[in-house]
Amino acid sequence: MFGIFALVGAHAFLGEVGALCFLWALVEIINRSEASLARARIAGCLGVLFLFSSLIAVAYPYWVHYGPVTKSVITAGPMPWAHSLIMESKEHIAILIPVLGLCAAIAMFVARKEGTASPAYRYISIICALIVLMVLSLAGMGYTLSTAVVVTIGRGV
């Protein structure tokens, strides 16, 4: 059981670090120079790695614990919509985020040969900002799911 909790914690941690990487890339792009764009590319690659790792970390707990145990607890409680709306949306929107990360990271490498004045950075920064917002939204959804379990079984049970 501890392993499952550790993996869920790792999932949240890796996802947040992934979002921070794209926030870092966004800041580097806003204050851009050759050196800062090189750091933005590193941040983008790390971000993609962390976002995919976050999904890999949660696959086992989702498979063996959420479906058979947590889901039935939530749906039996006062917040069944936490599963049918929040979890269903969260698990599928989460698949889109690493794809956005891949696009941003690859586009940064394509823009590399155009120098710091490339207009592509305007669009790449929008993708980076969207990744940060989506990850933060999913973290909020995760909090809602935890709340749904707590209000059903109570704290300390």
Binding site: A59, Y62, W63, L85, S89, I95, L96, P98, L130
Partner: protein, 100 residues
């Protein structure tokens, strides 16, 4: 490979649309959901693999020849598609949850 803004955009946009369509159709068509489950043991894992495969395939196919259009404006469609796909799934599951 000649990776361009256009090929990256195609890969991202097609992947997000395919993921969204497969997710919604999977909820509506039970044999499709069963197929997605049988392939890896869990439909969510299959969808993740599918998204990576679609992204790589579309990126490779659309990067075979150099793009004549080098404008980065096409990149704007990536976040637009991301937001629309996320809203489509949120809207679908909202309606689904309201039905009970």
């Amino acid at each position: 490979m000649n990776v361009s803004y256009r090929s990256v955009s195609y890969a991202g946009i097609v992947t997000m649309i395919v993921t969204t369509v497969v997710t919604i159709l999977g909820e509506l068509i039970h044999p499709l959901m069963r197929l997605l489950t049988v392939l890896t043991g869990h439909h969510w894992v299959t969808k993740n693999f599918l998204s990576v495969i679609v992204f790589v395939v579309v990126l490779v196919l659309s990067s075979r020849e150099p793009s004549k259009d080098t404008s980065p404006k096409v990149l704007l469609w990536i976040p637009v598609t991301g937001v629309l796909c996320a809203l489509a799934m949120l809207g679908f599951f909202f309606i689904d949850a309201m039905k009970g």
